[in-house]
Symmetry: C2
């Protein structure tokens, strides 16, 4: 079986053709045209057709096309993609016009699509997917189905409050959200604060030629620097607070973590686990938490999984 | 249609026969025999038969019997009823032996059963039921189904941490849980603290002949006493913190509140709403929160709803 998979990101987009296991048979990566969604969708079609050409396939041989978008989706419609200001775009309708020979077009937000892929390819019926990147979000799979809520906003784990006494302002305008405290930006903010009051710490970044952000901090933590390790532990504690609320409520089989900060999961997991031990009811405090099995192309596999899920009973 | 409904509580039990709307056609209330679950189950059978006698009905005319128990249920088995120490009791099997002519026996924990009843009788597919009583718990109805999680412990909203700086110890052994801070006991603990440092406040209770607990505090709050109102507002803030995590994650259609403290929902709702406004993403912060429509007999109607739900597609 062949599936068309398009992952539209804030800066880059990937078009691919996968098989029914999610393996990428052809893959093309290109810049996202932010200022004009229609122009970008047309480019996505061309790149998908180029993938098909590479494989000697035609559109009608695809089981369907999944389109993952970086924003909030309700049914067929992208309500808002904050990075580009796209609003109320009927993704399914527009791609159906662009790809009239495709048997099916489906769409979903990137975080939800990753959750669907992890459940579908991993054989889980109840899982929590958590993206920790510039933002923090989650997807909830219950009884084998993506759960999206009454207003399609379920899974907003990143806006659970985790710091009441010394909150940082969040991108949502509120204070002390997990996203404000423990995303890549939250880690960078902790680095910035530490650097301000500790010249020796600032010098570490300069000497090593590292950026004063989450990646630089990760590199120093891996070299054993205690301030950097403490910053990651603090991020872990905050993520643990948000996760403990989710585990107490949802009791999933497993938690998968993706996004840029997931690469540093080993640095934050001990603090997450310590927080869960003091914040969760028995049974759920030992819920397994692991890094995504989908790798770097999680969202593209998510696009494929949307089609596969639609075809499965 | 006739349904047998048994609600076993920590101190009292109700046996009833209802119709398909949950209306109680016959109802008998009696003490719970705590020291011996088998003796109590036999008593429940006798009281249910007495209800049937009143109506001139026989067991086989019932569509089924629902049994609600005050504890944690997994499938047919009551894993633990903390109040009495009952453990690993196969409720369905034991009642099926006691009531061989009943076409069906089903069981569930009291909080979950109330959630099922509120959804079934109210026509909701996605709701959060919250019990605020001696403890704090919740039931999650998603896509029309009760969601119980991988270990049957989903819905533990009462053990979401809501106070990190000045936490009180919880019945679960941890600190700062919503149950420790905002249950009937949590409110009583706030009263106790206030009374210790404020003789005039203690005198208010003595003069009015009110107990220094949640009910006494409610009575004073209704007379306009500012300390008592502040205690209920604080409880509302804590419940709002736990609820905001649940709403961000689940985005339900509506929240229903039951349990003893629900009678004072008007005193805590303004603080809950204020907390939701500063702790929830848009769309969910205005989710309707209302007192249960099931009234005092919520759990008995829950027992009936378990049977009706089983019979519906």
């Amino acid at each position: 079986m062949y599936i068309g998979a398009i992952d539209i990101g804030g800066t880059k987009t990937i078009a691919a053709v996968t098989d029914e296991t999610g393996a990428l048979l052809a893959r093309r990566k290109f810049e996202t045209i932010r200022y004009d969604h229609a122009a970008h969708f047309a480019l996505c079609r061309n790149e998908l057709l180029a993938c098909l050409d590479e494989l000697g396939l035609s559109l009608s041989q695809l089981a369907g096309v999944g389109v993952v978008v970086p924003g909030m989706v309700d049914g067929n419609v992208l309500l808002l993609a904050p990075f580009a200001g796209w609003r109320n775009v009927n993704v399914v309708e527009e791609f159906s016009v662009l790809l009239p020979d495709a048997p099916m077009v489906v769409t979903e937000g990137d975080v939800n699509a990753c959750g669907v892929a992890e459940a579908y390819f991993g054989g889980f019926t109840d899982l929590l997917w958590m993206t920790v990147s510039t933002g923090v979000g989650s997807a909830i799979i219950l009884n084998g189905q993506l759960y999206t809520g009454a207003h399609s906003v379920a899974g907003e784990i990143g806006h659970i409050k985790v710091e009441f006494e010394h909150p940082r302002v969040c991108s949502c305008g509120q204070h002390g959200c997990a996203e404000a405290m423990a995303s890549g930006r939250g880690i960078a903010a902790m680095v910035e604060e530490a650097v301000k009051t500790d010249d020796a710490y600032a010098a570490l970044y300069e000497t090593a030629g590292l950026p004063m952000d989450a990646r630089g901090c990760e590199a120093l933590a891996r070299k054993g620097d205690s301030t950097s390790r403490a910053i990651y532990e603090r991020a872990g504690m905050y993520l643990g607070r948000a996760l403990s609320a989710a585990l107490n409520l949802l009791d999933p089989q497993r938690v998968f973590v993706g996004g840029g900060v997931a690469a540093a999961l080993d640095l934050i997991l001990p603090a997450i686990r310590a927080t869960l031990r003091e914040s969760c009811v028995p049974f759920v405090q030992d819920t397994l938490i692991e890094r995504t099995r989908l790798g770097y192309d999680a969202s593209v596999k998510g696009a494929a999984a949307l089609v596969l899920k639609q075809l499965s009973p």
